[in-house]
């Protein structure tokens, strides 16, 4: 008997309902990344600022002489700003190849020939990136808040700064959504993950350089909307009830961030297709 006669039979088991494929994608993507030691190293390193801040909170709570180290509302804003560097590196590491590698291997037509819409595909890929970005922003920031309560032995600080809970949540959402959608859109434009990484870094540095150049020339910082990271900083200041650092309306800063995210989603809906049409 030929061997292939032994290997194929009808499948009589259950099938899951349509609409859950994106979870399969996310699970596979996350598992693939956490199986890499170097990446785990990066994620652990991204928690180093948390450890430093936790020690600072411990010292301030334990030793009255070090009470000047006690956290304030803006401590959490600064912490999330610091995490921006890790957001950048994690975004490049995780996101650059998410769609670019699929395009290189013609995998899009495989994915979309399964019971999965392009929106589900995008959701599955986006969630992979969001999982890790939340892991270096929202999660450590919230842990820091809990650490403060734990070391202080009371919830007084949280009660006095109740706005921190929505502020951390909102700013983290803006931070990770902006990075994730932008990177995913760039990843859908190329078949080379290296090129995507360079494009993302270029976009980040070029827009910041352009804004700084215009600020240097005009002496005004109202051009902050040109730089997504500057817009995000301005937005963050408002969310954390701090004095805005640029001469830019928070509404415009928010609009710049929203336009960037919406534009990225628009690119994704145009590029994620089962067939590439060149006319």
């Amino acid at each position: 008997m030929p061997i292939h006669d032994q290997g194929y039979r009808r499948y009589l088991g259950t099938r899951s309902a349509i609409g859950g494929s994106w979870q399969v994608m996310t699970r596979a993507g996350v598992m693939a990344l956490i199986s890499k030691r170097q990446f785990i190293g990066l994620m652990l390193f991204a928690w180093a600022p948390f450890v430093v801040r936790a020690v600072q909170i411990y010292v301030s709570a334990t030793f009255t002489q070090a009470s000047f180290l006690a956290p304030k509302g803006e401590t959490f804003r600064e912490f999330l700003d610091q995490q921006g560097a890790f957001v950048f590196f994690v975004t490049i590491w995780v996101g650059a190849g998410l769609i670019a590698n699929d395009r290189r291997a013609n995998a899009l037509q495989l994915y979309l020939s399964k019971p999965m819409t392009s929106a589900e595909y995008i959701a599955g890929k986006l969630t992979i990136l969001l999982v890790f970005l939340v892991g270096v922003t929202f999660l450590p920031a919230m842990m820091l808040l809990l650490t403060q309560a734990m070391f202080a032995g009371s919830l007084t600080f949280i009660a006095n700064n109740l706005y921190l809970l929505p502020a951390i949540t909102l700013f983290s959402i803006a931070q990770v959504l902006l990075a994730a959608t932008t990177m995913l859109a760039l990843s859908s434009l190329s078949k080379s993950s290296r090129f995507v990484a360079v494009m993302y870094a270029g976009l980040f540095f070029f827009t910041t350089a352009l804004f700084n150049a215009l600020r240097g020339i005009t002496g005004r910082s109202s051009f902050a909307w040109l730089s997504p990271s500057a817009s995000l900083e301005q937005l963050g200041d408002v969310i954390f009830r701090l004095e805005p650092r640029y001469q830019l309306s928070p509404a415009i800063a928010g609009l710049a961030v929203v336009v960037m995210i919406a534009g990225s989603i628009w690119i994704l809906t145009r590029k994620v297709r089962g067939v590439e049409i060149v006319t």
Binding site: S21, A32, D102, L112, P115
Partner: protein, 326 residues
């Protein structure tokens, strides 16, 4: 007390009918790439079983498959796959079909068994079942020993097999195979055709095989839809299409062959020129006077017939007629 209840009936592992009725129906389908017309008023019915979608490069075969998958939205017309409307039930359709694309396609960074199991999960199989079936289908397609290798290290032939494996892992009711023997060596091609034949005829999987290779279609399929320049030229059971041609004669002459071909065509015969100075002359209907008439025509043109032999009609004849008339 011993169990005396009757034994459950033995279930046929490959029930003959997965889906009754035409597996695909296209009605007045127009598909365009920008201003270029890819499919022009295509109306076709694909019955159950193995159907060949035959045509030269650029005929619109892959476009038709991609339209059936919902990748391309037609500007006009409607399509049904397994009785479901493509426009409104694309996901339900994709759950029940398997697609083997023409170009190299895999999910990067995975070994074969992980890749096939992953595709099974994407098609709705639970993780454990998907993994079990991945092993089974990889053995079935002949990649059992190489199933833990990264797909990117596979040869072209192995990549074709892995594409077939991912298409059948979830046990689809209908398979779309787009040029499945592309780039394969003769032995690999033969094995691939054997697999396709086995799926269609022993495992009762409905399939549509898109190919420009006539022998592939003739070996694996029972029905054929011939396409040319974005339209359907002819369709039907292969046996009937071959039979409807009447008799075919192989003919070699001494003299002005081109002029004689024109004479034959003027006399109402269909003539196909081959590479080796042998022409294939189609004598329509069941006429037994074909040789006599051919000799008479040659004699009148003072052309000497060197070779005349009754031949079996092939799919090539059907194809030549369909494409020639298109």
């Amino acid at each position: 007390m011993p169990d005396i209840s009757p034994a459950p009936p033995v279930q046929d592992p490959f029930p003959p009918d997965r889906f009754a009725g035409p597996v695909v129906q296209a009605d007045q389908l127009d598909v365009r790439y920008g201003k270029n017309v890819a499919l022009n008023n295509v109306t076709a019915v694909f019955p159950t079983g193995a159907v060949g979608l035959l045509g030269p490069n650029g005929a619109g075969k892959s476009t038709l498959l991609k339209s059936l998958l919902g990748f391309l939205v037609p500007v006009k017309g409607s399509m049904k796959v397994l009785g479901l409307d493509v426009a409104s039930s694309a996901l339900e359709i994709r759950e029940r079909i398997g697609y083997m694309p023409e170009s190299d396609a895999h999910i990067p960074g995975m070994n074969a068994v992980t890749f096939v199991a992953y595709c099974g999960q994407l098609s709705g199989l639970p993780a454990v079942d998907a993994m079990q079936r991945a092993h089974e289908v990889l053995y079935y397609v002949g990649l059992g020993e190489a199933r833990y290798r990264n797909i990117e290290t596979y040869s072209t032939g192995m990549k074709q097999r892995i594409k077939l494996a991912q298409a059948i892992v979830h046990d689809p009711d209908l398979l779309f195979l787009d040029e499945p023997t592309n780039g394969m060596d003769p032995k690999g091609r033969e094995e691939m055709l054997e697999l396709i034949h086995d799926l269609a005829h022993n495992k009762n999987v409905n399939l549509i095989l898109s190919s420009h290779l006539l022998p592939d279609v003739e070996y694996t399929c029972d029905h054929v839809v011939v396409m040319d320049k974005g339209t359907v030229s002819t369709c039907g059971p292969i046996a009937a299409l071959k039979g409807s041609h009447g008799t075919v004669y192989e003919l070699r002459v001494k003299g002005e062959q081109d002029r004689f071909i024109e004479v034959l065509r003027a006399a109402g015969y269909e003539v196909a020129d081959t590479d080796e100075d042998v022409m294939r002359v189609f004598v329509p209907g069941g006429s037994h006077h074909g040789p006599k008439e051919l000799f008479a025509l040659a004699s009148r043109q003072q052309i000497q017939v060197r070779h005349l032999r009754l031949s079996m009609p092939t799919l090539e004849d059907v194809f030549a007629k369909a494409v020639g008339e298109a």
